[in-house]
């Protein structure tokens, strides 16, 4: 794949190399931010009335550029959009003034029940139209374009007419939103469904990608399980380099959700990402 110089729609900034902010690393990160250039906060953790979470949020907001990453928008659910959730998200965005707001291309519940999981969608024209309309509504409320992240998936719906990457690309183009490309999730889904992760990258429009996630997984008996609880695997590092070659300079972060190591280990992973990406970007320049 060749580096692309395609211009990106909109004017969201390039933030460099960052980390997902987790309680386990609050104090260490403030004491020694190292080369961490920005932080991604989980929106729902701060959609609260008051108390310590917002105190910490304000402390980090003073020191780092922040982006907001949600897990409960449920953009693909057949239920109506949760307007209360949306209002709270908008209020948090007003407080934080993040560089951008993201969530996942998935559904998390239906019939008023929440599964608290990133459930995959059937890749159909019906689902596509449904998601596009809802993304437009969300972007109207937030008064900004959002990023949608590809999720790891374990099931394929018989009704699907498109590949996952065709569906993601179509949502981004029709709704005029951006893409948070989780490199680990591409790898996990590729292995679990037997498709080519390179085909996936080639199917994503360069101009829509605003952010990369890097994370780790667990090898299950038959399937790879996206646990985000392990170091980034060699296979994902390889795919990351392919992604850098295709998409160019993209804000990149390590996302760890469990089995938290000392902050220094995540910083070392982040530096590894930088060490892999920068020579490729300089070659392409």
């Amino acid at each position: 794949m060749t580096p692309s110089s395609a211009t990106r729609p909109g004017s969201l900034p390039y933030l460099g190399y960052g980390l997902g902010l987790r309680v386990e690393h609050y104090e260490a990160l403030l004491a020694n931010p190292g080369k961490v250039e920005w932080l991604e906060v989980v929106s729902e953790n701060y959609m609260v009335s008051g108390g310590l979470p917002l105190v910490w949020l304000d402390r980090f907001r003073e020191r780092f550029p922040l982006v907001m990453h949600g897990v409960s928008l449920s953009i693909g659910s057949a239920d109506p959009l949760d307007e209360d959730y949306l209002a709270r998200l908008a209020a948090l965005a007003k407080r934080v003034e993040p560089a951008w707001v993201s969530d996942h291309l998935c559904w998390t519940g239906v019939q008023g029940v929440n599964l608290h999981d990133l459930m995959p969608l059937p890749y159909t024209e019906e689902a596509l139209e449904h998601v596009v309309n809802r993304v437009k509504r969300v972007q109207d409320v937030l008064k900004r374009r959002i990023l949608l992240e590809n999720v790891s998936s374990y099931v394929t719906f018989a009704d699907s007419q498109l590949t996952e990457w065709e569906f993601l690309a179509a949502v981004a183009e029709r709704a005029d939103c951006l893409i948070l490309l989780d490199i680990n999730n591409v790898h996990v889904s590729a292995k679990n469904h037997g498709f080519s992760s390179l085909d996936y990258l080639r199917g994503i429009p360069v101009s829509r990608v605003q952010q990369f996630h890097l994370a780790g997984y667990e090898q299950g008996e038959r399937l790879i399980i996206d646990t985000h609880n392990a170091p980034v695997s060699n296979a994902v590092w390889d795919l990351y380099m392919e992604a850098v070659r295709r998409f160019g300079r993209i804000s990149t972060m390590i996302e760890r959700d469990d089995n938290f190591p000392p902050l220094a280990e995540l910083m070392a992973e982040l530096e590894h990402a930088r060490a892999l990406a920068e020579p490729l970007l300089q070659d392409a320049a």
């Binding site: 108390g51 057949a78 519940g109 239906v110 608290h116 019906e126 449904h130 018989a158």
Partner: protein, 259 residues
């Protein structure tokens, strides 16, 4: 009903009730059959909800011991989550323990769950300022009889028939699990947040008498009259001063007005 809605409802039931999906919904292949694929979601759902409850119910875990995991499993099976934030999933646990067999036979468990939940909700309740001793000096001496105190909205009082607070304290301090003890008379435990720290402590009987009255909007004269009925006229005012000073120092009072 749309195809999307049908698929999502069937997936929901496949995860919640561990039902088999109709074969035309999800495909299996050489890598894994459809059932194995659905199991990832079924397993993940239960793990996530249990993990969320463990974070919120530290005292209950201490009190229930080896029964804790089984208790959570039953709650997860009986109660689908209805809030977008998994942190709120525990809001129904105390109620569940009050009516579900066999835990309803041990009311200390529901009581412990209520206390854990009170601490959890105080943690991120709305911020409020608190008054100090100097703020009360603005009240003219002749107006004290009609003084009404406004207490923090995050303040909660729990009636405890057992020493539930000792179990939570043991967890918070990393100390030895206490023995369960039933009080001769139920005691009140106060839970509140000052700045960013959640506190809890038992109330003395007479302190609860005037705190409860204050929550109901009774005046300072009325509070003093209640203490006089307990301790006699001469002891009432010194005791009221002691209690009021303690409330101010703890940040329980956010304002006042005059009746």
């Amino acid at each position: 009903m749309s195809t999307l809605q049908t698929i999502q409802q069937q997936m929901l039931q496949a995860v919640l009730a561990e039902r088999t999906l109709p074969p035309h919904i999800v495909l299996g292949d050489d890598i894994a059959d459809a059932s194995s694929r659905l199991d990832v979601y079924r397993h993940g759902y239960r793990i996530r909800l249990r993990d969320a409850l463990k974070v919120e119910f530290a005292g209950l875990q201490c009190m229930a011991g080896s029964r804790f995991e089984g208790m959570l499993d039953k709650y997860v099976e009986a109660h689908p989550s209805e809030h977008y934030n998994i942190r709120w999933y525990g809001s129904g646990l105390a109620g569940f323990l009050e009516y579900a067999h066999p835990w309803r036979e041990k009311p200390q468990l529901a009581n412990m769950a209520k206390m854990d939940w009170a601490i959890s909700t105080a943690f991120d309740a709305a911020d409020e300022s608190s008054m100090g001793v100097a703020d009360l000096s603005a009240v003219p001496p002749e107006s004290w009889a009609g003084l009404r105190l406004t207490l923090q909205n995050n303040l909660q009082v729990l009636e405890c028939a057992y020493n539930t607070d000792a179990f939570r304290r043991a967890t918070d301090n990393g100390s030895k699990r206490p023995h369960l003890r039933r009080f001769a008379q139920p005691r009140q435990v106060l839970v509140w947040r000052r700045a960013t720290t959640v506190h809890y402590r038992r109330l003395d009987d007479d302190e609860w008498l005037v705190l409860g009255a204050s929550i109901q909007g009774e005046t300072f004269a009325s509070l003093c009259a209640r203490l006089a009925a307990c301790h006699g006229e001469s002891a009432a005012m010194p005791r009221m001063v002691t209690v009021l000073k303690r409330w101010l120092e703890a940040g329980l009072i956010r304002g006042w007005d005059l009746a």
